[in-house]
Symmetry: C2
Subunit: 310 residues, 2 copies
C-alpha cells in the first residue's frame, strides 16, 4: 500500500464526521483547527533510524536536529510561525545517557533559533535488542504576522499559475544537507507577505512526488520545463542523471509554490529574498503532470522519491 492510498482511505472514513473543529484536515503539510476562535496549525512528523538517518553514521544529535527541522519545514510550507513543539523518543536500550542527551540538544539548537520552545515530551525504551531509535515531533504554529498572512495550502493552485522552487535540488541524501538544512520559515513568510502565493508545499519527498501531491490537492495538472529545474551541483550519481536526481531524490526541504504567472518575474528577481527562486513550469488544467525537454518533447513526469510501498 502506498502512503497516498492509505491517506485517501483515511479521508473516506469521514475522520471529521460531526466535528466543526477541523479547518484543514489530513493531506496538507499541517492540519488547521479552530481553537477558541484562533486558527491553530498542528503537524506531526517522525524520523526513523535507517530510514531518515543512520544513527551509527550520523549520531544522535543530528537525528534530534532533523526531527525538529522536518517539522519546521512543514510550518514553512504553510507560511506560518512556529509556536512550540512536543517530542516523543523511543530509545534502543543500547543508547548511552550521553547520546540520549544529544538528541535533545540537537532539537534545542533549532528550537532557540526559531523560537519554538519544546514544551514537553515522552521517553520510552525498546526491550533489549529490539527496536531502533524513533523520534516523533508534533509542532504547532499560527498564521504569520498576527494572523495577517493566511496559511498557504496545497489545494489552491490555479491553472496558469507559474511553478517556482527555492534553492537547488538533488543529492541531499548523499551529503549532510538532509541533516543540516535550515527550514525556510522566514523565507516562506516573506514570500506569502510580499507576493501573491496561491499554493505551497515543501520538497521533502522529491520534486516530482510533491508536485503530484500539490496537483492532486488542487485538482490541476502541471508542466515542468526540464531545462529550468535548478539542479544541485551534488545531484546525480550511480547512473542517475543530475536532472533525474533533482526531480526524484527528495530530502531537499526547499519550497515549491505557485503564483499568477504575470507575477513570477517579480518573485524570481526579488533582491529582498535572500534565496534563489526559479520558475520551473506552469500549472495546467490537463489533469496530468508532464515534463517538456528543450526540443519541446513532452512525457509524463515520473512519480518517485520517498513514497513508500508495502
Amino acid at each position: 500500500m502506498k502512503e497516498s492510498d492509505f491517506l485517501q482511505w483515511v479521508f473516506q472514513q469521514d475522520v471529521s464526521g460531526g466535528y466543526d473543529k477541523i479547518l484543514v484536515g489530513p493531506g496538507d503539510d499541517m492540519a488547521a483547527v479552530n481553537f477558541n476562535g484562533s486558527q491553530l496549525l498542528v503537524g506531526i512528523d517522525q524520523v526513523l533510524d535507517m530510514v531518515h538517518f543512520d544513527l551509527k553514521k550520523h549520531g544522535a544529535r543530528a537525528a534530534g536536529r532533523k526531527s525538529l527541522a522536518r517539522n519546521l519545514s512543514d510550518v514553512a510550507a504553510m507560511a506560518a510561525e512556529p509556536a512550540g513543539a512536543v517530542a516523543s523518543v523511543a530509545l534502543p536500550g543500547s543508547l548511552t545517557d550521553m547520546e540520549a542527551r544529544q538528541i535533545y540538544l540537537g532539537m534545542k539548537e533549532l528550537a532557540e533559533e526559531f523560537e519554538c520552545p519544546i514544551a514537553g515530551g515522552d521517553i520510552s525504551v525498546w526491550p533489549a535488542k529490539m527496536g531502533l531509535l524513533h523520534i516523533s515531533v508534533c509542532i504547532f504554529a499560527k498564521p504569520s504576522d498576527g494572523g495577517k498572512v493566511a496559511p498557504v495550502l496545497r489545494s489552491n493552485a490555479k491553472p496558469g499559475d507559474a511553478i517556482c522552487v527555492t534553492g537547488d535540488l538533488g543529492g541531499a541524501w548523499h551529503t549532510s544537507r538532509h541533516l543540516e538544512f535550515t527550514p525556510r520559515i522566514r523565507e516562506a513568510a516573506d514570500l506569502a507577505r510580499k507576493h501573491q502565493i496561491h499554493s505551497m508545499i515543501d520538497i521533502s519527498d522529491g520534486l516530482a512526488t510533491d508536485l503530484y501531491n500539490l496537483c492532486n490537492a488542487s485538482k490541476t495538472g502541471a508542466e515542468i520545463f526540464a531545462d529550468a529545474v535548478p539542479v544541485h551541483p551534488e545531484a546525480g550519481r550511480c547512473g542517475v542523471s543530475p536532472l533525474s536526481a533533482a526531480l526524484a531524490d527528495g530530502e531537499d526541504y526547499e519550497l515549491l509554490f505557485t503564483l499568477p504567472d504575470r507575477l513570477s518575474d517579480a518573485v524570481c528577481s526579488d533582491d529582498g529574498m535572500d534565496l534563489k527562486v526559479t520558475k520551473i513550469g506552469v500549472m495546467t488544467d490537463a489533469g496530468k503532470v508532464v515534463i517538456t525537454d528543450r526540443n519541446g518533447k513532452q512525457k509524463p513526469l515520473e512519480k518517485s522519491g520517498w513514497e513508500y510501498e508495502t
Copy 2:
C-alpha cells in the same frame, strides 16, 4: 538513566529560556502554552510494540485504540477537554494493509466518543526485518467549561490534603483492562468542577511511582494507608501480593488526586460521580513517602512500576 533523571536534566537546560510562551513546562501530564491569549494544553505519548502492547497477541486495532486512550488519560489528568489529535505511525514492513487500517479504526472509535478529531498524521515504514510498530499521538486540549475549570496540575498538592484514587488498582497488564480502559475525561472534569481538587495525575506508571511524581512536583511527602488502597480483584499473581500489585503495577489509567481533607468525605460519597472514589492517605510535609499498615507500622513506599532504567 531513569526517565525522571533525564527530565530533570532537560529542565536544567532552560528549554524555555527567553520564551514567555510556556505556562506549564515538561513534567506534568500535559504542557500548557499561551496561544493567542488562550491556554493551549499539549501532550504527546507513544506506544511501542513489546512494551505497551503485543502486536501478535493484541492486534493492531487494540494498539491504535490504546495510543489515543493514553493521551486522553493525560487530558483527564489535567481535568481538561480534548480538542484534537495528530498521530505518527511507524509500520513494520510485514504489516498488511488491513492491519494498518485497523490502527486507525482503533483510534477513531475513541476519537468519536470523546469528540477529539484526528486532524492529521504521518506514516513511515521500517526497513525490511527491522523495527517494531510504533505509534505516537500528540493531543491538544483546552480548559473545561470554556475555561472556567482551571487545569489541575501535579504541583499544587498541599500538606494535609487527602489523597484519593478512582477505581480499583492492580493487575491491569495481565488482563485486557490496559487496552480497553475508558479515559476518565468526564469524571475528571466533574471532580474539578464540583470539588476543590488541588492536584491530579493519572496512574499509568503505578500508584507508587505516580504518587512520587506528584510529591516531587508539589515538594511534599505523603502517607498511604495500606488497608485503604482499593485493590482490584485481578491484582496479584506469581508471588506478588495483591496490595503490591495495586501499588506497583501501573497501566490502570485511573486518577490520583488531592483535596482539602475536610472535603474528602464529600467526594468519596458523591452519588453524582459514576465512579468509585477512595481516600487512601494524606499529603505531608515530611519530604518522604511512606505506607502505614493496620498496626500503625510505617515504612518507605517502594517506588516501582514502569519507570525505565538504561
